[in-house]
């Protein structure tokens, strides 16, 4: 695991007390984010995101799948988070498994709560066929605050995902799906409702947004929240001793920062690649 010496730790705690952080940021400031979309030609949608030293690569594959008859969903979405060995040589075995299943759970919970894909146009044959989105997340470098990086990268990759047009023909109760394989006959997936995550770390008695690895190692607790464009909360996970009175204040900061980040992300996707 990442180690921080005693001197480094006390220096970090002292700087946070003064309202700045080791890398010069203020307490509620994100590290620079650079974003690339359409990096994987073999995927339906993809993005590569760098948040400080954290780097993730997301590929989305779109398929048509069969669904249970009772199901009313248009889309089944699956997330897999995989940590490339290069990211951190110490992420092996059970540790890595727990870590990735936690991230997957958070994504699943947030996306199902936000009901992102309640779009009529994504309807195939309810109870028979539905879209299957497989979101594969590959962590290339772990520099702290994985969840936020993954959340943003996933949202961006989904927003660049192209959905092929499908012709549904019904004959005698059986359905035949004909997928238009013309690459230009695709629709862009709408993901306005998709949430992103924002994470606070508790260091000393202060909360800092977007913790780096050093800060994560020195932190006593964490608060991760998923917010969508309306500022609604789609997922919360916290641990460590947090002051109950702080919650309202932190949520207002998150709501505000989340809005800014979401706007920036949407703008980046519209303008193609950007940083």
């Amino acid at each position: 695991m990442f180690a921080v010496s005693k001197a480094e730790r006390s220096y970090l705690l002292e700087t946070v007390e003064t309202g700045t952080r080791l890398d010069g940021r203020s307490l509620y400031e994100y590290r620079p984010i650079s974003l690339q979309v359409g990096v994987l030609p073999s995927a339906s949608g993809s993005s590569r995101l760098r948040l400080g030293e954290t780097e993730v690569l997301v590929g989305v594959k779109v398929e048509v799948g069969e669904t249970a008859e009772s199901s009313t969903e248009n889309v089944h979405i699956y997330f897999t988070v995989e940590c490339s060995g290069s990211a951190s040589a110490d992420f092996l075995g059970r540790e890595a498994e727990n870590w990735s299943s936690e991230l997957q759970k958070a994504l699943e919970s947030a996306y199902s709560a936000a009901s992102v894909f309640d779009d009529e146009r994504l309807k195939l044959v309810p109870g028979k066929f539905c879209w299957v989105f497989k979101v594969d997340i590959l962590v290339l470098d772990t520099g702290g605050n994985m969840l936020d990086a993954i959340g943003m990268a996933t949202r961006t990759a989904l927003s660049t995902t192209l959905i092929p047009r499908v012709n549904i023909q019904q004959s005698e109760g059986t359905f035949e799906l004909e997928i238009d394989d013309n690459p230009s006959a695709c629709d862009n997936l709408k993901v306005e409702g998709a949430p992103i995550f924002l994470t606070f770390s508790l260091i000393g008695s202060h909360f800092v947004l977007d913790p780096s690895v050093q800060e994560e190692t020195c932190s006593r607790g964490r608060l991760s929240v998923a917010v969508d464009a309306n500022g609604d909360i789609c997922y919360v996970c916290s641990f460590g001793l947090l002051d109950a009175v702080e919650l309202a204040r932190l949520l207002t900061i998150m709501k505000k920062t989340g809005k800014v980040l979401l706007d920036r992300l949407d703008e980046c996707v519209r303008n193609g690649n950007s940083s």
């Binding site: 727990n98 936000a114 609604d232 919360v236 460590g240 001793l241 002051d243 109950a244």
Partner: protein, 261 residues
């Protein structure tokens, strides 16, 4: 006598049934009857048993003891550590094919519950007092009828107290669900949890205005969320008070027995 195969269920459509038949049998702000017990497992340093309605949890604490599975660095660690293994009993699943044959090893859900329990108790147990030692929690979720995490936290809290492990405070926990009709349902059962638009579990130490853990699934506005958390905190405090009352009573009983013998 004709044997009815368990594969015949469910005999009703769950969603229709929920709207027409399902009725909460207690006020929205009342938790289910709480059953507490300690010292159920003789071999363990401490143990706790909690029933929240039909949800039943038993926890055994072993330790502080030297770590059994040696891991680099633990032998010389300045503070102790907590390990936790959560197991769901094979009959705790409510589905038409109830009892499952458990797969080998721990399921993903069990592993995540273990991590959550460790994270709740790491700041509460005074680990600096147990250097080079490990405190091992073994949790069996006997039956899961909603609010399992809250019940597990309560039982662990009891078990740690029973094992006389030094804690900053007792930990209490409560779950609140927000229903589709926007009612706040305290201590929801399984059906209420599954159909909730928001489900919040809060764990907190009894003697400080702090929170150990918040887990929220579902979508709520910030204001609703804060008031739900507030409600959960209040419920957790009431439950916590009954826990401390119970422990006080238990310790009084214990005091009398050894002296008389």
């Amino acid at each position: 006598m004709e044997r009815i195969s368990q594969r015949y269920g469910p005999f009703f459509e769950p969603t229709d049934w929920l709207e027409t038949k399902y009725k909460r049998e207690r006020p929205n702000n009342a938790p289910r009857p709480l059953v507490l017990n300690t010292g159920t497992i003789a071999d363990a340093a401490g143990s706790g048993y909690v029933e929240l309605g039909k949800t039943k949890v038993i926890v055994a604490v072993y330790g502080p003891r030297p770590p059994i599975r040696a891991r680099a660095g633990v032998e010389n660690a300045m503070s102790g550590r907590i390990t936790c293994e959560v197991v769901k009993s094979s009959f705790c699943y409510y589905s038409c094919e109830s009892a499952k044959i458990p797969s080998r090893g721990f399921s993903e859900e069990e592993r995540l519950l273990s991590i959550r329990l460790i994270r709740v108790f790491e700041p509460i147990v005074i680990l600096d007092k147990y250097p080079k030692n490990s405190i091992d929690l073994f949790v069996v979720l006997l039956e899961d009828d909603g609010s399992a995490m809250a019940a597990m936290t309560l039982a662990t809290s009891l078990a740690l107290a029973d094992a006389s492990i030094e804690l900053l405070s007792l930990v209490s926990s409560a779950t609140v669900a927000v229903s589709t009709k926007h009612e706040y349902l305290v201590d929801p059962d399984r059906i209420e949890s599954e159909n909730a638009v928001g489900l919040i579990t809060v764990s907190l130490p009894l003697h400080a205005a702090q929170l150990c853990e918040i887990q929220h699934n579902g979508k709520l506005s910030v204001e609703d969320w804060l008031s739900t958390v507030q409600l959960a905190v209040e419920v957790a405090q009431t439950i916590g008070n009954s826990i401390s009352q119970f422990l006080l009573q238990e310790s009084k009983n214990k005091e009398t027995y050894p002296l008389s013998s």
